[in-house]
Symmetry: D2
Subunit: 475 residues, 4 copies
């Protein structure tokens, strides 16, 4: 076993899923199954830390949950009735084992394991201050900043220290933490990222990023952890702290549009229904004469279904997705590259040939994938290609835990909708309006949803201060 | 690197995909991409043999195509403008590297590489005779039988020997073979398994199990290799032999129902359209009062769409498939097993709760998966569950290249439809009728399709003699 | 790649080798070769950090140096003209990648990489204090204690901080450290562990645990780094600090007896000559009538040669060592275990049969290996077996960097020499006397060497305070 | 797991060790231990086939025996009381798993596993004829030729077929073969390669290339299998056939000089004693004024001891061998290569400085290693370097199972002894004379040993016809 050679610096953005288990036999297996259900939130690495009443145990690895936690003997070593787990997707090349969460540390008061989903917006600033103070950083994760703040806190108890640390960080985060005595769940004051509370069969508790993680183990949904709430779960039950006082929610609207799994229920809305309804609104706003409604699978499917239902135009699986992509893939030669080979999507020509096609996708980021898909659909014989997008134009990067390229690489940041249509080669292009988007989420219109969601990637209205960005460059 | 310990005997059934390339730069890369598009036909192992005008080169490995052929340096060693490749799925435990095709052998007249999709029905009988004659077998593949027959043929040229061998084997097979001088494609007399001919961009030729392999590299569909036809491709172009005289086709109907990729065109029919149309026929035959039509993804989707369109009942993605299953997976403890955990499918409760649900699936084999899915859908709140199956009851095993359990394990072999409905716990169950199935494939009714397909898995009418089965037990 | 499951605590003792390079092209390759020559000091893991004038680069892995640093592409990424490297042997089960040195950390003043050979005797005490102060520990190595002390030092420059840290630690250690601006070598005040300074061919500098690491790259021996000396090497040359004032040396006598490579020169004495001379003294002190002198290979060879030369009795390779033991090995069944199988040593019967044999070995630790070897030699036909040991009885554990079991498991701690002879089944047993040992090292007698060596493992006279041991239990 | 890419042709020479076990519980473990003791005969791959009364089981892998057979679960699957095993060293780059022996094949009469040590001199000729006849070759090993001959034999029983095959092959070989009913051991008519018979503790039998394999499992030496003898071992005991009539032995003299392990007894001579005695003869023949006798370790050690004893000049370990070379190793940059780095040997300068040194080695092949060692010894301060070689000059390649380069690359084939001395840079050079060599083996002189050994590598007198060499080029 050998670590990858790399520079010893660099800070990745991360997308993640988290779970926590308290008071359940086979806690590690429950955590692993939960992480499997959350695999769409991060596929590069996974880790679990358990506590058996006396000791902490851990296993981490690079790869899919099902591969990292497949060995029965290894699972047997993850003893105990409490556990936390983490899935990770890192956008920079070097996925390092040392960056895989949960992060475990020995404190004066005992051990603590921590994992989080999201991004701290003052991580670099805090890190500089901590390094100045003599703190040693050994990973490049935001979680380590959080853990250092706990370590140096002058408060006596781990709970007070957690609160102390939480008050110092800014950003969008859902944290799970495990001590020998309790399991913690904490959402940032605006509740940008989700965190769900459930009960497992025989009396134990479960925390997870999405309800689909509860479903896989037959756990019952109890409620959302609230924005700014810290839940403390122990054998006595569940308590709740409000470290930040009263806060108002700004849930990430992009979880509904793309990131969450369709069968999850977030903030009491079905993700699947929301997507379908966006499709309905989109059809109302941006109808077009066409023969077929074709989703870009898999994420475009529900919106395309809604669009088709509303427009009365038939829904067709005109694009097929190949799920067998493996971990690595054929590095193409130049000649192969020129063929414009698409490893993931292929055209289902009989459903497209001679048809006026409405393609429904969730977003346009750089535009390069959209261009290839449009070309492929035309090559399969479509006579017209209209693109409908179930989100407003993505004009700004996310600093709160969704992987997006920097602004200069976002097609919508530099092109009008008409220019975008030309760039990706469609006959027409339309995005859902803000009014339509929020109607689909159950509001009267955009004004009615004002201040209740984070939609910064569309509006540039960042509800959490971007401390690092506004300060010096992140090294 | 270590081979897996195993018994040194045992004969697996196989499902496979094949490709062949002639006269194209980057032949290995084209072959790898073609195999990637055929990944659904076999996920356990892959191999490619190329010829560079002077020498043969090969690489084989266990795993997905994208993993086996991911290394640029290795791809660089697979030199030449001709190649054949093979995907393999083996149903017995021991996937052995020595069984991975293509199989290469040195002959007096030079080297030959061979790969095939299908099963020989007299392989064991031939094998016994060959062993008696002094032939050494080192794999358990049918392909090796074929290669031995070529080796011992008394004919002078490799072509004559191929024909000689072809006349001795019985079964369903599509063979690709590569010599320094030409590329061969051969379908069995009844053409049970598919084989397609296409042209790649710069004048080369391509053979593949399905058209989707042509599409991924931008190759143009030319025609099907015909049942009983042997095509010989070299730098002069393409020739055709008919080793078996005139034959009549019996194409595998199950390729349409389940096995082929929906965007493929087989024997001039779109697989996707066929599946949708089966759904239409199913709705006509077995309509039921319901609120939603829900496919068991992914294979049930087109039929469910057809059913929904015909019935006017809304189509809903009420079951979500998790594609991130990895190579291995969590070995569950007993307790976890009792939770009835489903790694691949989860219920999308908001689309099911309080609804009368029609589940559309492609087939019922043992019935255990169907039972679990029905239970899951009920647990998500469905008030009624009706199951509609886009194939007739599967009552007989396939001996022609589709993996099926033996007859005693097929639910439909021992249960009436009513008993099956009870066994899987549905309110009603219906299968497509033979008339409906063949109408969906463009015939007037079953009589009109008589003798044009192999549907032995539904009827027990095996069009190719089961030599091994009827003789002594296969050792 | 997957980390090993383990408890998240536990503190291993370590044996190690270190190298440092400054101002030499191919610094990483020179470091790797030096580590290869020091492989006998630690075989479980190896790591190198380089600096290329702008950035640090690192590679670490579990296994032999030759395997960890075998890939040319990887070596190419270890850019720069300065490097430090480390070999590690850990006595506890869990060799973790996160424990592999060198340890790199970002400081306010820039990056620093540190590796060391030896053990700190107040590591646990310091660690507790540091954890109390809020320092996070992520490995279980003593090196991390040292690095934390640097991090929290209130001094301004890295040099002052290194001195500050050095003054707080107690123990036996030879440290190499690399900053963008210089290479550091530091020996503890008593110089228990070795550290050598040399010049590489084209003007660069090299630090290493033993001279054999200089030899392999053709570097020239300059001098020993002195006990308590800190050398600072940069492009201007070499400077020297004395952080501890004047100190007197207590070099580890066991490096001569067993640990160092025979072709190394330590503190100006040839290890090989010392071992031979011990054999000479042993023959003088403990002569016995015998037919052959047989070493327990490899470490017993020079002493046996000296014994044979002095006694006039023929030297014979009566025991053959099998060096091909691999990383893992056949886990024996009970039946095999009862055969008393010896994987490493076998008897050369023709040299033993009918002979009165003097076995020469370097030490007796638990006595179990000695017993097996004696039994094997008797089974091969030896009529008498006399054991001569080239060290005094090992009665006390080492806390300064040599792996020894705890006192209760040391045969000599609980048995008289006569009892030991009985326990291992020899006709006679003798150890070198202290006078003999020190005469072999060039002194008049034990009194003449008084206070110049650490021989605590024989005498229990520990020259460096055992802070952790005397305080509370190490957690 | 992935096979290595390679050309599909090429025929390696091999050095090997073999074992066979009959009638012993834990046969696989005994075989694995035996192979471990024979590891010096082949380090690249190992394999074992067992039979449990009903079925054959096998495991093969690349690497050291201790790594290939380290897993207890895997060992548990190698069931049965009979086994054969094989170690392999291949001189060409591509060690392929498919070439790893034993080779198993299904015959009409049942399964058979075969492994051999040696080389067939008509393998290529037979192979061409077999291919012409329709035999398929899937490896490049000589063993497969042997197995094909068994397969096509017209005789009825496996024993008769083995004899039939044996009569057709020419070469130097020791074969072990396992059927469900018996274990076979067969030596070629001249008995060039060794094969030993022993009894294991509880009544079972063991065959092995050398006695050291018996020693490790405590088996008792019974006798040598005789040249041209085929032993058949079953539950009734041992029988013996003489397929070739009466033959006269020509045992490989190079087994004594270099190849066998020193603690083995071959053809009733101790290898160790033979080597020492060669040293004695060498000292008598080629005495020189010198200060120290230094072996090139490990193989030169016994001869150097003999030389030292006879000459009265002290024996010194002036060269140290580093055994930790790993499987792969640092690919040196050009600069490093120019340093003349020696990974395996280093000079022990204190034993060499200012000395007139006699280096004792077993042979000079290309001379490049000798040159480097001589340079190293001079660089360490030797004032004179005299080389003494314990074999006559190696002027001809071996075709009988010892890896040697072709004649043009043998230094002694193109240089006189004086020229060789100059080429390797020594003050004097001498080889053992034939008279001396054979005196050391217990004969009066060379004439007395005439026709009793194979010494073709020194004399060019090849006792077995080189069919392939004298016919057409080996393809």
């Amino acid at each position: 076993m050998t670590s990858t050679t790399r520079e010893t610096s660099g800070r990745p953005y991360e997308e993640c899923g988290v779970v926590g288990i308290w008071g359940a036999p086979d806690a590690a297996a429950l955590a692993a199954l939960g992480l499997h259900a959350l695999q769409h939130r991060g596929q590069e690495a996974a880790g679990i830390v358990t506590h058996d009443g006396e000791r902490f145990w851990q296993h981490k690895g690079l790869g899919l949950v099902g591969d990292v936690f497949s060995d029965a003997r290894m699972m047997g070593t993850l003893k105990g009735k409490s556990a936390i787990g983490h899935n990770r997707y890192a956008t920079t090349g070097g996925t390092l084992l040392r960056n895989v969460q949960p992060l475990y540390a020995d404190f004066e008061f005992g051990g603590l394991a921590v994992a989080h989903n999201g991004n701290l917006t003052n991580a670099a600033t805090l890190r500089r201050a901590l390094v100045k103070r003599g703190c040693l950083f050994q990973s490049t994760t935001d979680t380590e900043v959080f853990v250092h703040l706990i370590a140096i806190s002058l408060y006596a108890t781990v709970l007070e220290r957690l609160v102390d640390a939480a008050k110092q960080v800014k950003g969008a985060y859902s944290v799970v933490a495990l001590t020998p005595d309790f399991l913690i769940g904490l959402r940032d004051p605006l509740g940008v990222r989700p965190l769900i509370l459930g009960r497992v069969a025989d009396g134990g508790w479960m925390l997870a990023s999405e309800t689909c993680a509860l479903d896989i183990v037959g756990a019952e949904f109890v409620r959302n952890v609230e924005p700014g709430e810290m839940v403390i779960i122990d054998d006595e039950g569940i308590r709740s702290l409000r470290p930040f006082g009263k806060t108002s929610p700004r849930f990430c609207v992009f979880e509904y549009i793309y990131f969450a799994r369709p069968d999850s229920i977030l903030e009491d809305h079905s993700v699947y229904e929301a997507r379908k309804q966006i499709g309905v609104e989109l059809a109302r706003e941006s109808g077009v004469e066409a023969d077929v409604i074709v989703p870009v699978p898999d994420s475009g499917v529900p919106s395309a279904m809604g669009y088709a239902a509303e427009s009365g135009i038939p829904f067709e699986m005109g694009i097929i997705r190949n799920h067998y992509v493996g971990r690595t893939f054929i590095e193409p030669t130049d000649q192969i590259r020129n063929l414009g080979v698409r490893m993931k999507h292929s055209a289902n020509a009989p459903a497209l040939r001679g048809k006026r096609v409405v393609l429904v996708d969730d977003s346009i980021v750089r535009g390069t994938t959209s261009r290839k898909i449009v070309d492929m659909v035309r090559a399969a014989g479509a006579t017209e290609v209209h693109m409908r997008i179930s989100s407003p134009p993505t004009r700004h990067p996310c600093f709160y835990g969704i992987d997006t390229p920097e602004e200069s690489q976002l097609l919508a940041a530099t092109h009008s909708v008409a220019q975008m249509a030309e760039a990706i080669g469609v006959d027409s292009l339309a995005f859902i309006s803000f009014d339509g988007l929020y109607r689909a989420l159950g509001h009267d219109d955009r004004a009615d949803a004002e201040g209740r969601y984070c939609d910064a990637c569309f509006t540039g209205d960042y509800p959490i201060e971007l401390v690092d960005k506004e300060g010096h460059l992140v090294s």
